[in-house]
Amino acid sequence: MSSQVSLYSINSTLILDNEGKRIYAKYFKPPHGVLEDNSKLYNNDKNQKTFEKNLFAKTYKVGGDIILFENQVVVYKQYSDIIIYMIGGLEENESLLSTTLSGLTAALEIVLQNNIDQKSVQENYDLVALAIDETVDDGIILEYDPAVIASRVTNAPSQDIPSLKTIDLSEKGLLNAFQFARSKINEKLQQGL
């Protein structure tokens, strides 16, 4: 498949902290196919880390939203202490990448209630992971409208039911207790008789 007509347009999505350390890194590969140009980075942790380190050095605290780096187009957005990257092939439409990135970041702003920083990303990692998953599916852009991406991210369940088995207060638990009690009483009664 030539890269020009393929839907696989995103090579990787990264979130790095203010020291260049990974917060989130996903290098995409078609789930069933073989990948072409990204292969040096896919599944090679060492190469990935060096790539991220060098990329960070090139982009951190340097103005701008786009850079060509190691034969890939990188669009990025900087927040107070993290940077979010969206990386595509050399021939990829830059504006398309940038639209996808801003879709993702705006969606994150919605689900994280306008607090995009290291702490909030780490504390709400589930929301972040889901948002990225709803934006890019193994390299294919799934959606780029921030509201739609955000609407597809579920919030965590509010409260767990206390897990002590003996005080199970759910309906079924009550019924169980009732039946247990009834059988016990029946037993006692029969013994008594």
């Binding site: 030539s2 020009q4 007509v5 393929s6 839907l7 989130y24 890194a25 078609p30 069933h32 196919g33 073989v34 942790d45 990935q48 880390k49 340097v62 103005g63 701008g64 939203d65 786009i66 850079i67 060509l68 034969n71 669009v75 050399l90 021939e91 439409n93 830059e94 504006s95 398309l96 940038s98 705006a106 919605i110 290291q118 780490q122 504390e123 990692y125 589930d126 889901l130 998953d133 193994d138 294919i140 852009i141 799934l142 959606e143 780029y144 409208d145 921030p146 509201a147 739609v148 955000a150 609407s151 991210v153 579920t154 919030n155 965590a156 369940p157 409260q159 767990d160 039911i161 897990s163």
Partner: protein, 938 residues
């Protein structure tokens, strides 16, 4: 684990992450607990994913255990937990086994689950199924494609796209549903936007139509082979009432249009209005894609290209950085081939020089410089000089580099360039900046001979007040090499001796060496004064300076006393050597030597084993390298683009081109490697030195069952063809692989032996060598080649062939291979081609040809350079004006057999109806070689 640390991580809002094993144990424990606690499990899943996204991986067994326990979470109905479960399944399915066990749970969700996690379920399903189980999902997938919810449709289409690689025939069954999806209008259900409180936008979209993009992408691959159906689709989607709403879908459609025009050039004109329409779209990405596509297709007329350039011109001044970047990048690419087209954008480009984004301003500068032609280059350089003070050092270097390449391109403009560089040299700047300027001046001295005196003078002035020792040393070295060749060497002697008086010991010692070189000119008075100057240095405080002065003095005196010219030459080599060692080979040899064990150190390193290269050769390599920069500029995308452009017209030409340029850098090392590989084979031991190895020639297409490449090795009396054969089949192995290669001129080239491959396993590579005796001169011929082998089927489980399978004999015709003149020539540089041409006037051959296979001058030029393996000189390898119908290519090289010089002037004239007329004139010291060129050039 202590209770304490356990408690710490129980804090649900904590951002810190426990170690891998803790997470693993926690997950197993919690997921297997009944009833399922949704909130805790989602937190643990999120920790698990975080580990995976941070780069931690699990062993297959651990992953499988996790996967199994996660499947238990399907008991719980909470949709937010379920969504997380699907993400975890998706990520874990890559590393764990037995993933099929969750299929039924997922299928149930797709049928009856809630809308919020249904798309996630579909996307996970794709990772679970494989080619054999995908059939079971057919009905489900069809239903989901036509679902009214756009998210579900998108998820299904994207999943189908993933499945194309393994189950295209199954995916094909929902072609009609996919087609409908493109034109259908699907809207989000009303409860879509209730999950979060504030969506931050005023208007919530009722649909984003992104499913059109997915449907179109899928449909293209389903209909890929049917050009007519594709045209129908394009027509249907590109008219005024097209259902396409998503800009992504339009971008994709533009790419398909570009592709189909490349395949069938006659579609170009009918499709232009469509593309032209998209040059005025409200979305940047559509405009950019349309402009890029139009400019990438050479069959569009200049006016049509102009429309696209106008569009980009407007985009150059939008506030969005990414768009400006994309626009200037496309223009930069165009500037590479046809700079005159983008001159109209110069005003906008000049405004971008101070752009806040560095990449944008760099591109703007380099693009501007490329638009320079011999008419406007002076003005451009003046304009840029004005900006020089406003930009940072880093940028100045980019500019200097661009000027450097420009000066090689327009040697006649050397005065302007020198002035510019000289002005820069006087400005303040750090080492890297100054170094770039000095490098540029060095290049001009080397490759633009007429600029030498002026440039040397500039450098002399510079070292009078140079704070960087390293630069001073390099300049002194250059002065020592070039100074004696000038008309007025005494001028430089004064400058050099000043250094001896004023500088530190490092500079002083290099000045001493430089001085000694002037003594060789042969002028008595100069030699005398040099000796006086050197004897003064004998009293220097630094021992290195004293040593060098003493050595030089001794050499000079004995040089004068010697009478025999042979010995004089030898001595001369000590003072100013004509040849230098090939550094890459030296490095390789040394590292090999260092890797040896104790015993190998008994013998000292043999410097003679490192080939030396003469100055001319070194220059030739360097020049190629330098001019290549011009094409590469800030990145490699040009090359790729060039490849793509030419690919359609000429099979594999692009790939070969790239291979060649890559190879160029490693050429010497490669040659060395070949010669080592060959000498390791006993049969070739006594063949003597390897004279020349060709670049790799492909004899088959890249995508077929057996890929064959060949490398031609020329020895003194032998010719060895090295066939690299790759078996790309998965289920058969090849036995007794040979290549029957028969030369047309079989009386000249006699086959000696073939070294076959005994067994070529599936998906492996091997090498067949065929050796011929070679006549002493240069004889061109071509070889017809047939691949012959016994193929056996292989049991995929064991990887071995079935016992008792005798296989069947098969033959396979591959392309012809011709021995070209280039196989006997190495490129060589000359600073003064006209002079060489006049000198070689004794033997001249000429011929006129008509090349009908191509109309592109640049392409022909590249091909000629490759076929002849000669060095293009005077910048004649680039056809500067794309509209011109003529071009003169000048080539220079040396014979590998006797180092005879050979020069070529090739005049090309394009004639639209009859292809390209080519007149070739060859002059050289070896008549046979000239003849071979004339015969082999077309």
């Amino acid at each position: 684990m202590s209770t304490l640390s356990y408690k710490k991580f129980e804090d649900i809002d904590s951002g810190s992450l426990p170690d891998k094993m803790t997470v693993f144990q926690d997950c197993l424990h919690a997921f297997n607990t009944s009833p399922v606690q949704a909130k805790r499990c989602r937190l643990l899943l999120s920790r698990l994913l975080r580990l995976l996204y941070l780069g931690d991986s699990f062993a297959s067994q651990e992953a499988t255990t996790l996967f199994f326990s996660i499947s238990k979470l399907f008991q719980h109905k909470d949709s937010s937990l379920r969504q997380m479960v699907y993400l975890a399944i998706k990520e874990l399915s890559v590393i764990s086994e037995d993933v099929l066990m969750v299929t039924s749970s997922i299928m149930k969700d797709i049928q009856n689950g809630e809308a919020i996690y249904k798309p996630n379920a579909i996307r996970s399903l794709t990772r679970i199924v494989d080619a054999s189980t995908v059939h079971a999902t057919e009905r489900l997938m069809k239903n989901c494609v036509v679902d009214r919810n756009p998210s579900i449709t998108s998820a299904t289409l994207v999943s189908s796209y993933h499945l194309l690689a393994v189950a295209k025939d199954v995916v094909k069954r929902w072609t009609n549903e996919t087609q409908e999806a493109i034109s259908a209008t699907k809207t989000f259900p009303p409860q879509q936007f209730l999950t979060h409180e504030n969506y931050g936008v005023n208007k919530l979209p009722s649909s984003t139509y992104v499913y059109q993009y997915h449907a179109l992408g899928l449909l293209y691959h389903l209909r890929n082979h049917d050009k007519m159906a594709l045209m129908k689709l394009i027509n249907q989607l590109s008219n005024s009432n097209s259902p396409l709403r998503s800009p992504l879908a339009i971008v994709q459609l533009i790419r398909y249009i570009g592709q189909i025009i490349k395949d069938v050039p006659s579609y170009a004109q009918p499709l232009f209005p469509v593309l032209n329409n998209w040059l005025r779209n409200k979305s940047d990405m559509v405009e950019l894609e349309a402009a890029k596509t139009i400019l990438g297709i050479s069959s569009f007329s200049s006016e049509q290209h102009l429309a696209a350039i106008n569009c980009l011109q407007i985009l150059l001044s939008v506030p969005r950085t990414v768009t400006r970047f994309a626009a200037v990048r496309i223009l930069n690419k165009i500037a590479m081939k046809t700079p005159e087209k983008i001159v109209i954008c110069n005003v906008e480009l000049e405004n971008l020089i101070n752009d806040s984004n560095r990449s944008v301003s760099t591109y703007a500068i380099t693009t501007l410089l490329k638009t320079g032609n011999s008419d406007n280059v002076d003005r451009l350089i003046k304009t840029i000089l004005k900006f020089m003070n406003d930009i940072s050092d880093e940028f100045k270097i980019v500019v200097i580099d661009a000027i450097r390449t420009l000066s090689l391109k327009f040697p006649e403009k050397y005065k302007t360039m020198l002035n510019f560089l000289n002005d820069c040299l006087r400005d303040d700047g750090g080492f890297v900046f100054k170094n770039a300027i000095v490098e540029a001046l060095f290049d001009m001295i080397k490759f633009v001979p007429q600029s030498r005196d002026l440039a040397l003078e500039n450098l002399c002035e510079f070292i009078e007040d140079c704070e960087f020792t390293e630069l001073a040393v390099r300049i002194l070295h250059l002065l020592g090499n070039e100074g004696p060749k000038t008309t007025n060497p005494t001028l430089y002697i004064r400058h050099i001796y000043n250094r001896v008086v004023l500088e530190n010991s490092i500079v002083r010692s290099s000045a001493v060496i430089a001085l000694s070189k002037f003594a060789l000119i042969g002028d008595e008075s100069i030699s005398k004064s040099i000796k006086i100057l050197l004897s003064r240095c004998l009293n220097d405080v630094d021992d290195e300076v004293r040593d060098r002065a003493a050595l030089s003095l001794k050499l000079i005196t004995s040089f004068e006393e010697l009478s025999s010219p042979d010995e004089k030459e030898k001595l001369k080599d000590f003072i100013s050597p004509n040849t230098k060692y090939s550094l890459p080979v030296l490095e390789q040899k040394l590292s090999l030597y260092m890797q040896g064990d104790k015993e190998s150190f008994i013998q000292s390193f043999d410097i003679k084993s490192v080939p030396t290269i003469s100055d001319d050769e070194a220059k030739a390599y360097e020049f190629r390298e330098k001019t290549r920069l011009l094409e590469e500029e800030a990145n490699a995308d040009v090359e790729q683009n060039k490849n793509r452009n030419t690919n359609g017209e000429n099979n594999g030409y692009g790939a070969e081109d790239r291979e060649e340029s890559n190879q160029y850098i490693k050429n010497t090392v490669l040659q060395q490697q070949y010669s080592q590989e060959l000498s390791a084979i006993p049969e070739f031991k006594n063949y003597g030195n390897l004279l020349h190895s060709s670049s790799v020639v492909e004899l088959t297409e890249r995508e077929i069952e057996f890929v064959v490449e060949v490398i031609k090795h020329v020895f003194e009396d032998h010719l060895v063809l090295q066939f690299n054969i790759e078996n790309t089949l998965e289920e058969s192995e090849l036995n007794e692989v040979t290549v029957v290669s028969s030369p047309e001129a079989d009386e000249l080239y006699e086959e000696e032996f073939i070294m076959p491959i005994e067994k070529l396993k599936p998906q492996s590579k091997g090498t067949v060598y065929v050796s011929f005796t070679r006549p002493s001169g240069i004889e061109l011929t071509s070889f017809t080649n047939t691949l012959s082998f016994i193929s056996k089927e292989v049991d995929t489980t064991t990887g071995e062939s079935f016992e008792g399978d005798e296989g069947f004999q098969d033959e396979y015709q591959i392309e012809e291979l011709s021995l070209t003149p280039g196989d006997f020539i190495i490129p060589s540089f000359t600073g003064n081609f006209t002079h060489q041409w006049d000198e070689l006037s004794k033997i001249e051959q000429s011929g006129v040809y008509n090349l009908s296979d191509s109309n592109d001058l640049q392409e022909i030029v590249q091909r000629l350079i490759r076929v002849l393996s000669m060095m293009p000189v005077d910048g004649s390898d680039i056809v500067t004006d794309s509209n011109s119908t003529t071009h003169v290519l000048k080539l220079f090289g040396k014979s590998i057999l006797n180092s005879a010089k050979v020069a070529c002037i090739i005049r090309l004239a394009a004639n639209s109806s009859r292809g390209i007329m080519m007149k070739t004139q060859v002059r050289g010291e070896d008549e046979q070689l000239c003849e071979a060129i004339i015969n082999g050039v077309a």
